[in-house]
Symmetry: C2
Subunit: 917 residues, 2 copies
């Protein structure tokens, strides 16, 4: 006996089931499942995906036994329907549709009304008593078959579809405008003309034999698996070529048999809001494609929907109440059975309801969250399932400021959405354009909302960025300076918007060569979509943020309720700790409100860019000797100390990792000569000498230059000052009765001797300070692992380091030899050409960087089994990367405050998917 290639469904029994998607495709599996559930499904059968694979591996031939199995299945369908395929009196008509494992909407071919010919059309007339309907069905079938199966396409690029042309000519001859105005006779004539066209163009007769029609259609569907459109779609969605498609042959039902027929699509819950209400649209006397095509306005499903949308059209609930009740029952059954919101298609043929499709429905992020939480609360799914139902990134929809939706729509209609960049900082922002960071500060201080527009940003711009509502840059990628800082600050940000031409001197820019925007003009940024919008579009903060910040009562916000419920469940299952990257008390406070359990990275250098400090910093850098360097450092000490005290107070009882000075010193100096000269005058130095010093600090590859612990090793007095600030702050805050857990992190260590030397300085200062205050604090000294050498020699480094924090931004740069700031020239093309599957600066490169991390953890824990291991690179907020961090056994991830909730959820999902022993 040959293998089973054909699976029957019909009359309440099916050979397949929902879990056979690989073999039957999604559509086929669900048709079988519905049939078994006792839901009315037009009977039919599925030819498996294995036949497709066989077909391609064997020169477009079918396996032995297939024909017999099809015959047998067809006979069973005939039996169920009490009709015969090709019967001139009461013909069985079928549809032939593709059905891959995953939905590939519209990519492959379909043939409807199959089984019609000059004889059986008479039977259809008899069945329906509707000659026009029968000939319209026949005309559509010949046209579809000619196109899809026989391949009659336009011959030249500019030729119109030849069938459509004949149709138009006919309407012209008859002097009518609409298809519906053609009579049965006209349609009959069209059938003849279509057949003549086929004969003329292809030299073959249109097949009258329904069996020949069937096999022709089956072959066409299999072949459509390999049409260029489908291939492109598969490439884009990473669907393997050898999966193949199944073919579903199913009894035709008609929603266009009159006013007692109809067709519709529905969602078991509202896919936009997630609310537990039945939601859908339908048309009377129509075929499925008519609903999608949008030529006629569809009618609402029920009275509630009608009321809410304020539409005038009658609903299904009113027009056919008994059918609606049956549909509601099916909806309940399907949701209970599938335990998720379903997207269903149905047809009513002469007051008989038929289900044609069910599948898990797509939804907005907000809806996903609401459904997950509510289904769990309803007991339909478990809390664990609820957690897995939400894409962590979808939480953004609860967190970001939002445009007033109506105003946005209006802007769109007015053509004010004028450019697109990379959506680096989600949310909505609106304000007056300024082109320099100092302007941003100044304008903001005067009470303006500003959008800072730069070709690109640098650390000098940080205060200006902080003062702005949003940041827009012409250059830079998703991990450019602007993007990185914006995400940490929670700023709306659009980067790499190539359409901008910025003229700093004239203080204006042109967008796309057309729109001129001057300083002070309003623009708006949609950081979620990456859109740049001319003019002012009003925004509002998210409800979650308003509740967290005390501007709204929790009980007034359904959004907050959903958020906090989900977070509560996530915290119950996650294993990873969640910390935040925060430099300032305000950031830390927000992060804690979002659920952070510590600070994973405080970048001390960000503190140095404050107006009252940058000059001391510069004085320190320009110092000629250790004495004058120490003098400048002494001025910085009390400021750093105050910062740290603020952080320690906010982080009460939670660990705070503070990284010593990291960036190359030239980042602190002004670049242009004029500013340098002003600086020199201010500091009472020779401008020429200051310029020389600046030039001398220039680096060819600053990323690999004089930075990180190299600074502290050459100038130990810097580390000394920072350690002093940390421990004096810690002692003083501890003196206030607040628990303080400082962890000092040495950056860019590559050799154990580096951490050894820096740790000696920190330990010495810590002891001095604690003795002076008479307070004993527990603290740790650890290192960032951000160089391959650090990971490779982690066993040595762990002799000194008490914790590791993987700095995956720089680690990615060094492991891959790829500069984040320069990769824009080739990385997008690399992803397009499938050299790399993801941007490694957004999602951790597991095979390369990930292996280096695994080596680092393994070797580090070999030396020090209790080594605390975390991550503080941008990847710490990326769900896929968080899963990796969980799997390799890290203790925590650290991310920017606004990503803390996302990280909590991602960590929970990782724990559910990959339970640790």
């Amino acid at each position: 006996m040959s293998k089973k290639y054909v699976y029957l469904f019909g009359a309440g029994k099916a050979e397949g089931s929902a879990d056979m998607k690989e073999l039957l495709g999604g559509k086929g599996a669900n048709l079988a499942e519905m049939t078994n559930l006792g839901i009315p499904v037009p009977p039919g059968f599925t030819i498996t995906t294995e036949v497709c694979t066989y077909y391609y591996r064997n020169d477009h031939r079918y396996p032995d036994g297939l024909e017999e199995q099809v015959d047998e299945a067809l006979a069973r369908v005939e039996e169920i329907m009490g009709q015969k395929f090709g019967d001139p009196d009461d013909p069985l008509l079928v549809s032939v549709r593709s059905g891959a494992r995953v939905s590939m909407p519209g990519m492959m071919d379909t043939v409807l009304n199959l089984g019609l010919n000059d004889e059986t059309v008479q039977g259809l007339i008899r069945q329906t008593g509707n000659e026009r309907f029968a000939y319209d069905s026949y005309r559509r079938f010949v046209q579809m078959y000619g196109d899809v199966v026989l391949g009659l396409k336009p011959e030249a690029k500019d030729e119109r579809d030849p069938f459509e042309e004949i149709l138009d000519r006919k309407k012209e001859e008859k002097g009518v405008e609409l298809d519906t105005e053609l009579t049965a006779e006209d349609l009959k004539d069209l059938v003849a003309r279509f057949k003549a066209l086929i004969k003329e163009r292809l030299g073959v007769d249109f097949p009258e034999d329904p069996r020949e029609q069937l096999w022709g259609a089956v072959g066409a569907v299999f072949r459509s698996w390999d049409n260029p459109r489908a291939i492109a779609y598969r490439e884009l969605n990473n669907i393997p070529d050898d999966w193949g498609t199944a073919v579903n042959v199913q009894t035709m039902v008609f929603g266009n048999m009159g006013e007692d027929s109809g067709t519709g699509v529905a969602f078991t819950r509202d896919p936009a809001t997630g609310e537990n209400v039945f939601y859908g649209e339908f048309l009377l006397n129509a075929q499925g494609e008519d609903v999608v095509a949008g030529i006629r306005t569809p009618m609402p499903l029920n009275i509630l929907q009608k009321q809410r949308t304020g539409r005038d059209l009658p609903s299904l609930e009113e027009v056919m109440p008994e059918i609606y009740r049956e549909l509601v029952q099916i909806r309940d059954k399907l949701e209970r059975h599938y335990r998720d919101m379903q997207d269903i298609e149905f047809t009513i043929q002469r007051r008989k309801l038929w289900m044609l499709q069910t599948r898990v429905g797509k939804r907005t992020g907000f809806a996903a969250i609401r459904m997950a939480v509510e289904m769990a609360e309803e007991g339909l799914i478990t809390k664990e399932e609820a957690l897995l139902r939400v894409e962590p990134e979808q939480l953004n929809q609860l967190l970001r400021p939002v445009f007033d939706p109506k105003a946005l729509e209006q802007a769109r209609m007015e053509g004010r959405v004028v450019a697109k960049g990379l959506n680096a900082g989600p949310g909505a922002a609106t304000g007056k354009v300024v082109f320099t960071a100092p302007d941003a500060e100044e304008w903001a201080a005067r009470g303006n909302d500003v959008i800072l527009v730069r070709i690109e940003t640098s650390p000098e711009d940080i205060r200006g960025m902080n003062a702005a509502q949003g940041i827009l840059t012409a250059r830079g990628g998703m991990t450019s300076h602007a993007a990185l800082v914006a995400r940490q600050m929670g700023k709306v940000c659009v980067v790499g918007c190539g359409a901008l031409e910025i003229d700093y001197k004239a203080r204006r820019m042109t967008i796309d060569g057309k729109h001129e925007v001057k300083e002070g003009d309003y623009i708006s940024l949609d950081g979620t979509a990456g859109d740049v919008i001319l003019g002012h579009v009003p925004t509002m903060p998210s409800e979650v943020l308003r509740v967290i910040q005390g501007d709204m009562r929790p009980e007034d916000s359904m959004v907050y309720r959903l958020y906090s419920r989900l977070m509560e469940w996530a915290d119950e299952v996650r294993v990873l700790g969640i910390r935040t990257n925060a430099d300032l008390p305000d950031q830390a406070k927000l992060a804690v409100a979002f659920g952070a359990e510590g600070i994973g990275l405080c970048r001390t250098e960000h503190m140095f860019f404050e107006e009252d400090r940058i000059d001391y910093m510069r004085e320190m850098i320009l110092a000629e000797d250790e004495d004058s360097r120490r003098k400048a450092l002494d001025e910085l000490l009390p400021m750093q100390k105050e910062d740290f005290k603020g952080l320690f107070r906010v982080m009460h009882g939670m660990p705070v990792i503070i990284r010593t000075l990291d960036p190359p010193l030239h980042e602190f100096l002004p670049h242009d000569d004029a500013t340098v000269e002003a600086l020199a005058r201010k500091l009472g130095k020779d401008p020429q000498k200051v310029k020389e010093k600046r030039d001398n600090l220039h680096e060819f590859n600053p990323m690999l230059g004089f930075r990180g612990c190299r600074l502290g090793i050459i100038y130990p007095e810097i580390t000394e000052m920072q350690a002093k600030a940390i421990f004096e702050a810690a002692c003083e805050v501890a003196g206030e009765g607040i628990e303080v857990i400082p962890e000092v992190m040495i950056p860019l260590v590559g050799h154990v001797n580096e951490i050894r030397a820096q740790k000696a300085v920190v330990d010495r200062v810590a002891k001095e300070v604690m003795d002076r205050y008479g307070i004993q604090l527990k603290y740790m000294v650890g290192t960032m692992i951000e160089l391959p050498r650090a990971a490779i020699t982690a066993d040595e480094i762990a002799q000194e380091a008490e914790f590791f924090s993987f700095g995956t931004n720089d680690l990615t740069q060094t492991v891959m030899g790829m500069s984040r700031d320069d990769a824009g020239k080739f990385l997008p093309l690399y992803i397009q050409k499938d050299i790399l599957s993801d941007d490694p600066f957004s999602t951790l490169d597991r095979d390369g960087v990930g292996k280096v991390i695994e080596i680092g953890i393994e070797r580090g824990r070999k030396t020090r089994p209790d080594l605390e291991v975390g991550i503080c690179g941008e990847h710490g907020g990326d769900p896929k990367s968080i899963e990796f961090c969980h799997r390799v056994g890290m203790d925590y991830v650290s991310c920017s405050p606004y990503r803390v909730p996302i990280a909590r959820l991602a960590a929970a999902q990782a724990a559910l998917r990959f339970p640790r022993d």
Copy 2:
């Protein structure tokens, strides 16, 4: 019984031997060995290094039993000498000296003439009949003991040595100038005054008891192991603190007992030339320190030496022929015994020869080679030992051009050696100064020898560098562009000479603010020492080079004979293949003459800097679309092809690895606006657009930017052109009957998809070309492993790559996160502070980069067991790194032509030290 702490030597028998250096120190072990050889050594004993260690671990106390063992040994010495320690009639006098495992010259303390006091000095007078000698010895002893043992030092910084002050006062009182003019009475008075000084300053009496003197001196020597001078020396030379020193107590012999006495140092062969002649210097009636002090002119050892140096002084061979004969016998015995050239010290006391020291003698590189070869030829050592006796770097002394020694000496005397930089390219060069690369070419074309002086060099300067005799830069380290290119070209090069202030506009520089050098002035560079010399110093090429290049007959050159003999032996034992990094046929030819067995790296981009090509290259870079890019590439194709043909012809039957385009494109564009404008006019392009393109190509971190295979992946037409040039050249040269083995190397691969994509291009072109020529060639496509990700995923990459070549320059940069061009700001201090032991760009960082290499080889060979693995970074020419390459199982190393002989020797040594299974 307590442990043995004291080892006796004397009267032809010693308890120790030469292989007991750890216990007895170098001096003590060799004194024992000589004694056992029957060589006359003043009897004595050695207190072991273990006593030193015990002394430091036990609060400056001695182990039990030591005192008894010393007493016993002293008694044996007294017995041998027939004298008694402290005997007023015939006192035994001893020296007390330090003696560590390795020589620490002058770092620790010594006491001579110990055993003298007011009574025993009478015995010494009686022994010698020389009252003045006896009191002089006594005076010296008290002074030395007061200083070394009792610690009587100047009290204030500006105080003179108080003993010397007393001595001066005495001379003043007596109205004499020289010590020798003082009488026995004067010296006796000095002894009294010295003792009084000790009493006054220290409140203690000078110890009259010889036993007390002895223990005082022993303690002082042990303590001197920890004086600041010794500690610093140990740090500098990586000598462990816990090794400790031994103490040698030895019977005094006096070379200053009159004209029948004397003292000298000698080498068993000439340490400067390596010639097998006895060479040394001596003084009559003198102590050892007098020879070293250089106050008196020493006399030659023998007549030959006297003749050669043309000195007037009589030789030992003439003055004491029987002593000289005895010394010659000892010389022969020592060399036969130690099988190496010895550095010996001797004293003649009243016509009796005593040997005081023997140790392996230091020598010049040339001497090392000559001795090694000749000793092996004499049968004194094996060929293997000979190979291990030469530091590979010492071969440079045979290979580099040399200054005429007399002219150099004159320049030095005239104060024309005015600055020092880093000795980046060894050898000697002299020529007229030019300040731009085009000037260098132009002046050279007119027949001038030129020295190219730049602040730093860039790839644009290559032709100018090639035209110059030598290159001098103000900035850059040992692996700067200038240094790297110079070594490959074999150019003399001094880099990073901070004393230069170069004024390009005025075409002049000042050195050290004093010496002005204008364009056209002569300067000379000593690339071996790093010296910059004003004016013309004549040079000559090395004999090896003259022979290799056919300008000298091999049989006329002893230097060449030594070189070729050593190379022949090296090739017999080495396992590693030796290839060369060469871009041009001439370089390749030279490398083959030096013994290269293939090309390990041909950098195709160097060919693009030629005058007739750079513009096509620039046109290609500035092209707006693929078509115009292809047009420019088509122009480059025949030129590249000719280059490759030249290489293939030279490399007849040897593999040639050609690397596809590697550097970032901006390196090919001019930087200053004026040149850009000229270029634009030349190419008929809009200058503004060209400038924009140049700015657009700017990178923040070019090392990690758009370069390597990234270029070929984004512009596959570049790789296509290069592959076409390679395979057309290969087919055409193969058509000439020459065996061609092309290996195409893809640079900067980090992901298997990269090599897969580029290999597909190369394979396709190769097939097309070979089909067209009707020739089948064996070839390989492989990759550089220069990114950590490549090493980590080597198993995947080896699925595509047929060979690996470790690009350790870039691999070091990425593994360590250290830019070669920027590391100058911290690397020297890192080495000084012992954070790193070596410059990782010169000597491979085994613990970090090396581990990554090991991972790469292991994983690569797991996938492809016959994977060909080599190295083509600068480390391929560094002996320590070559040893590593051998140990990790590489197939070959590749280095610049001038380092091929060094690599051959280093590979041989590696094979001898670490035999492969």
